[in-house]
Every structure is written in C-alpha cells, then in structure tokens.
Amino acid sequence: MKVTLAMKPTNTSFIPIEAESIVPKNFLLGTDLSVWRGNRELNLDEVFSVSVEGEADRPEDIEVVILGEDTFRLKRVGEYMDGGKITVLGDIGMHCGNFMSGGTIEIHGNADGWLGREMAGGTILCRGDAANYCASGYRGGRKGMTGGTVEVFGRAGHFLAENISGGAVTVHGDAGDMAGAEMRDGTLIVHGDCSRPAANMKGGSCYVYGTAHAMLPTFKKIGTVRHEGRTLIHFTGDIANRGKGNLFVKDYRYLD
C-alpha cells in the first residue's frame, strides 16, 4: 500500500505541525488521523491531500510518501515507528523518527533537529543535511540512540549522536561541534571534519576521517591503526571521565 500525503500550500504562518500520527501502521485503519497546528487539532486532510493506492494488512507493506513546499514544518513524523517505510520528498521538521524501533525513513532533503532521537532500531537515510542533535538523547542526559542506523549524506549539526549508547551513525560530510559527546557505546563515523569529537566519552568508538578541530587534551594517544584503507590515529578516553572509549582521527588540532 502506498499512501501519498501532498502537503497543501498554506499562508505564511510558520507554526509547526505535529504529525506523530504519520506512522505506516496507523494507515492500516484508514486515513482518519489528526495532526496538530499549535494548539489546534486538524484532520489529516486539512493539511494534506491524501491518496491511497493498493492495500496492506501489515505495516511492512506500507509506504508513506510526504511531499510539498512546507514539509519542513512537520514535526514528529515517524515517531515510535516500528515498521514500513516513510519517504519524504523534501525537507522534514524536528523529531523525525524519534523512538523509532523498526522500518525505514528516507528523507530526500534536509532534516531539522533531533532526527532519530532515542532511536532503538530501524534505518534512517537523510540525503541532505541533518541539523543539531541528530541521533541524540533527550534532555537529562539519559541514553541516546540505542540501536538501528542513521546515515546522513550531507553535513550534520552540533551535538551529533550525543549520549549514543548503541547503533551506528554515519555522516558523509562534516559534523559540527561536540560530535559524539557523552558517547557510551555504539559507533559514530564522520567522513569530514568536526570539532571536539567524543567529548567526555565513556565507551564506544568514534571515527573522524577528516580533521578533529579543537581536539580535547584529555585523550591518550595510543598509536596509528589501519581502518578501511585509511591510516588513523588512535586515542582512548575521555580520561577526564574515566572513559574507556576509542577515538580514531585522521589528524587533529589542539586549541593550545
């Protein structure tokens, strides 16, 4: 079954629309769903022209396609998603794929903050850039992402994979400041540059194929290793935090 949600053009109001109801399994029961614009509850079809092709009796057989100019205003799409597919033919707003445990979300444009927050499983592909707190945790510093994979083909913002405790995050472009902060477990790979990677890490592995700017002084240099055809410098730390994590960088600069 393919559900197409074409977002209707709206006035200039930028008030976000919270659409946690947009999860494949919800469409098993039809399209009578509601979303929220600020404090107003709206029917799905007030915001989208909805069309459904084919049938399905399990989420795995459902693809939801979201398109339109204003899709960047949609928050919480795919929250608690456990199967099926969501394709966004454009940008998506904050909290896409939060608490996701299964299925696939593919974003053709950019994703706003908290993409895949506290994700436990499944796959997120972001063809464009991901903003801050991609694959991170929630306020209060509890576990971040615990499983699944997030792949960003563009750049990622600050606090990428903050508190990550499992799963794998790959960013093909540069990442911002504090990538992998408070990392506990899991894997973070940044193909480009980033600054202050793996700050205060306890465990897990963080790879920076580019340059680690403002490298923190509290990582212990072990030596060099070969990794997927690259030579990387291996550090352990963060020793400020009794950390037992591994940080691999192509090169680095201290703020000395």
Binding site: Y138, R139, G140, G141, R142
Partner: protein, 566 residues
C-alpha cells in the same frame, strides 16, 4: 450550610475502636456530626470499606529539595503527564511529580493529610509556597534542627532550656509543625565534607555527639509540649551494619509522654542493616523490631523499598554522596548555612540485585515483626523507597503471605539466606492496615484531638470510601483486588466535600497548614536574646527581620499553641 450523609458505610475507625461496623456518617459544614437533616446530600457506600482520610506521616512532597529533584529530572517528568482537565491542572512526573500531581494522586488514594518530612528553616517559605499548590491535602512540615549552630552550642553548654527556646523561636518563625533530626551532627560535619560514624562520634568544632543532640532535643521537645515527638532519621543511613547504631539511638530514649511516643524513628528499613560490608549484607529487622516491641515510647515507619525507578532525596548530604559514588549518576547537594543540608540522586531498585532484594524484605519484616501496628506506620519515605503510588501494593504484601511468596520467587535467589521474611506467616488485617495508614499517624503526630484520623463527632470530615467489600474479599488470596481498591477510592471526602471520585479530582480545593507556636516566657524569647540576635546578624546572609515566614503564605492557618515549661 452544607450537609452530607454517607449511608451504609463499612467503617473501620481504630481511634474509636470501631472495626467493620456498618453505619451512617453525618457531615455538617466540614465536620462530622451526630445527625443531619433530611435535606442532606446522600452518598450510599453500599457496604464499601470506609476509613478516615489517609495520613502520610513522612513524605517528601514540597520544598527546596523536592523541587530540585524535579528540576534536575526532565526524564522523570516525561512519565505520568496529564493535560488540564476540568478543575484538574496538568501534571508531570513519576517519582517526583509536580505539586498538583502529588495532590491528585494522593487524593485518588484517599489521602487527606500530609507531613513534609524535612524543611530547612531558612527555606521554609518555599515549602509553604508549594503547600499552597497541593490543594487537596492538609499539610504540615518537620523543621530540621540536626545542624543548627545555636542548638549545637547550647547542647555543648548543657543548656537544654536554651535548646528548647531556639526550637520554639524557629518553629514559630518558619511555621513548622515538628522537630526533625536528620543524621544529627552529620549534616554539619558534611559542610566540611565529613560525617559522623555513629552516636558517640563528636561533631567537628562543636564537639558534641549525636547521642547528646538526640537526648537533649528530645527533652527540649517535651519541655515545649509539642503535639508530635522528635522525628529522627538516625545516623549512618544505608550502611551495612548500621543496625547497631540504630539500636543505640533508640536505646537513648526515655518514656516521657503518656499520650504518645517520645521518639518517631523514620524509614527504619534504611537503618536495619547487618553485615560488615555489601558482601555479607543482611537483614537485622529482628533485633530492631524486638527493641521496638519492648519500648512503647518508640514509633517507627517502614521506609519500604519497592522495585523500580525512583529519586532519593534527604537532608542527609553525606549519605547521598556515598550513594553517588556507588551509582556514579547525577548528584545534587545543597548545604544550608547554620542549619542543615540535603542531597539528591536518582536510583533504580532491581529485583535481580541482592542488596535491593534484601532492602525490600526488611521493610516488610519490620511491619510484620512489630507486634503493635500503632508502633510501625506504612511509608516508603516517598520517594526514597518508592513513589507513594506504590502503597497499595505494600498493603497487599502485608495482608497476603501468598503475594509475598509470589514476589519472593522473583527476586535475587540468595535473598532467602539473608532475611527472615520467608518464615514470617503473619498477615495483617483490615483494622491493622487502617491503623498503619491513618489512625496510627494521627496518634503519632498528636493531631487526633484536632479531629484528624478518626470519624467521631467533631472530627474533620476527611473520609475515604474504597470500592471493596471486606466481607466478600479474602485479602490473602485476592490481593489483586486489594491493590485495585486502595489504588483508587470510590469517594475521597475532604472537609465534607467530595474532592475525588474514582480517581478524578472534582474541585480545586484549598488546604490548611498546621503549625505550632509554643508560648515561652520572655527570658526564653530568642527574638529578644542579644547573643542570639548578634550571631544571627553576623553569620546568616538573611536579615533576622526577613527570616520569619509571613502569614500570607498560609492558606487556612491552623496554629497550635502550646504552653511551654520555659
């Protein structure tokens, strides 16, 4: 004039010796009366269990420390969020809910009176502000004196009357209800990063021992004729082998008061540990209960631990730091100048953890081994042992050996060799539960004469009607029904108004705050004492005139005046 008649109530009212009599309860303008007119609104209880409103004699719900527990725990707030609905405001939180969350959930369980277990006098205003937003229960607060410099000095000088005078001035100033000692001496030592090991270990600089503090403050408390006894959180909370320290502390207490206990020892589960370390950690509930059984002057509360996530918070700063070093999680500490301190950390009690399993057993053992239910009251030291919403499960565990065995089978396998619980057959009855959840509290707090904890004519019309017929339910078998019944009343009535119906709160409410004002002679009025004033001005950072809590902070002001012997 508002009249209410509750018909066909199956009443248990221990303070009046009533045990499961079916009767009517007449209410006029918020008080229980002999009779009401035919115009009275009628509630048919249909034989459901009807008790005086529940009273929690040791809980942490309002004030600086509690609010900091909320402040630092957004992840806890995500649980239990409800939107504004009718007269109910929105709520958040599980182990440290918002004030409305506490009030609504307590009310749904039939609780109408709460005692905040620890209020730092300097920050009392904060506690009273939160009381205002805890609308469905009457409130009162223990004021902390464990590290009070003036008192430590007076004790060093052997001047018990001065100790009493300082307590009197402070209680009156901060609108406190009772005297709390938390790890006496330890909180002062902690302001140097130290602690006291037990009751004979002197406090740095002041050179007085916890034993001297406890004894002297107990005497002072009785000099002031306060309704409640001294409320003690013993030294050494949570450490293996601390039961000897607890026995020593309880052993210090003479029997000074014919009407009530002379000492209320709180959350004793945390103080009943054997062993020389965590490896041979074990239960010492038996010697503790044996001592309590021999000493009518002692009342304790359980401090039951239940498995799951919660937040620990106490004025016992050094203890919280030790916990932090065990868990290495978030840690907050807040020392209060010239007075006391506090600490907070989140914890998870796990069934698979041997120490946690033993702690769980100890609380139940204390309740089951203490012969007289008036001497062991039901608490979790909310939220330290567990959030208060777990009370119904605790009631069921105390009433059902079968339930205890079923739970026991799920905890750490080595627990059996460390605790006496499996051998304990006792199952508490409905009457004993009523004692441990309201009547006993009223007596221990000394508020039964103020119309609390019973349903006699003249009493405050605080009533809880639970959806259960005790003639039809065998609690030792149908413990699930007991849990459901105590989890949500059919009606909770506060001051003659139905405030909660099947879990929904119906009114915004407005509580009363109970506080004491001991009348002392001019010689003992610290407000006029040059030395007291001079030290206050020099060492506090708040002016003496700005220290007392103004009456603006009390909703319904229930001032209890006492005639002091000084």
């Amino acid at each position: 004039m508002s009249e209410l008649l509750i018909k066909n109530a199956c009443v248990i009212d221990p303070l009046r010796g009533i045990n499961a009599e079916t009767m009517d309860i007449a209410i006029l303008d918020g008080k229980i009366v002999e009779d009401v007119s035919g115009a009275a609104e009628v509630i048919d209880a249909r034989g459901a269990l009807t008790l005086p409103g529940g009273i929690d004699s040791h809980t942490h719900i309002c004030g600086t420390k509690v609010n900091f527990g909320r402040y630092m725990s957004p992840e806890d707030m995500r649980a239990g969020r409800t939107p504004r609905r009718g007269p109910m405001h929105s709520t958040s939180g599980y182990s440290v809910p918002t004030t409305y969350g506490n009030s609504y959930r307590y009310s749904a369980m039939g609780y109408t009176t709460l005692l905040e277990g620890a209020m730092a006098p300097l920050e009392a205003r904060h506690t009273h502000e939160e009381f205002t937003y805890t609308p469905l229960q009457d409130t009162m607060a223990n004021a902390l004196f464990d590290g009070n410099w003036g008192i430590l000095e007076a004790i060093r000088d052997g001047d018990t009357k001065r100790v009493a005078a300082i307590i009197a001035w402070t209680l009156r100033a901060v609108k406190g209800f009772a005297v709390k000692l938390t790890n006496p001496g330890g909180t002062e030592a902690w302001q140097w990063g130290k602690n006291v090991s037990c009751i004979r270990d002197p406090v740095p600089y002041f050179e007085v021992t916890p034993a001297e503090i406890i004894r002297s403050v107990v005497e002072a408390n009785e000099l002031l004729h306060l309704p409640h006894s001294v409320h003690l959180h013993c030294n050494n909370l949570g450490t293996p082998g601390n039961y000897t320290c607890t026995l020593g502390s309880l052993g210090l207490i003479p029997d000074l008061n014919p009407k009530r206990q002379t000492l209320y020892a709180t959350h004793v589960q945390f103080h009943a540990y054997g062993g020389s370390g965590w490896k041979d950690f074990c239960s010492k509930s038996e010697p503790i209960a044996r001592l309590v059984n021999m000493r009518p002057q002692i009342v304790i509360d359980m401090g039951q631990v239940m498995f799951g996530r919660t937040t620990t918070m106490t004025a016992d700063g050094p203890m919280e730091f030790n916990l932090y070093r065990l868990h290495h999680d978030k840690w907050s500490n807040h020392d209060v100048e010239l007075e006391t301190g506090s600490g907070i950390i989140p914890v998870i009690y796990r069934r698979k953890n041997l120490v946690n399993s033993i702690m769980w057993a100890i609380g139940l053992e204390l309740a089951l081994l203490t012969k007289n239910p008036w001497q062991c009251l039901l608490t979790t030291d909310n939220p330290n042992g567990a959030p208060f919403v777990r009370y119904p499960e605790i009631i069921a565990l105390l009433m059902s050996k079968r339930y205890r065995d079923a739970e026991f089978a799920t905890i750490h396998p080595d627990t059996g060799s460390r605790v006496p619980l499996p051998a304990i057959e006792r199952e508490l009855d409905w009457y004993e539960i009523a004692v441990m959840t309201r009547a006993g509290q009223a007596k221990a707090l000394g508020i039964q004469d103020l119309g609390k904890g019973h349903l006699g004519p003249g009493a405050e019309a605080d009533v809880a009607i639970y959806p259960i017929r005790i003639d039809e339910v065998d609690p030792s078998v149908d413990y699930q029904k007991v849990i459901e019944a105590f989890g949500r009343t059919e009606y909770t009535i506060k001051r003659g108004r139905v405030v909660s119906r099947r879990g929904d709160c119906l009114v915004d409410g407005s509580n009363a705050t109970f506080w004491v004002r001991p009348k002392v002679s001019d010689d003992y009025d610290m407000g006029k004492d040059p030395d007291f004033i001079e030290k206050f001005d020099r060492y506090y950072t708040v002016r003496m005139r700005n220290y007392p809590v103004q009456e603006e902070y009390l909703n319904r002001n229930r001032c209890i005046e006492t005639e002091a012997e000084i």
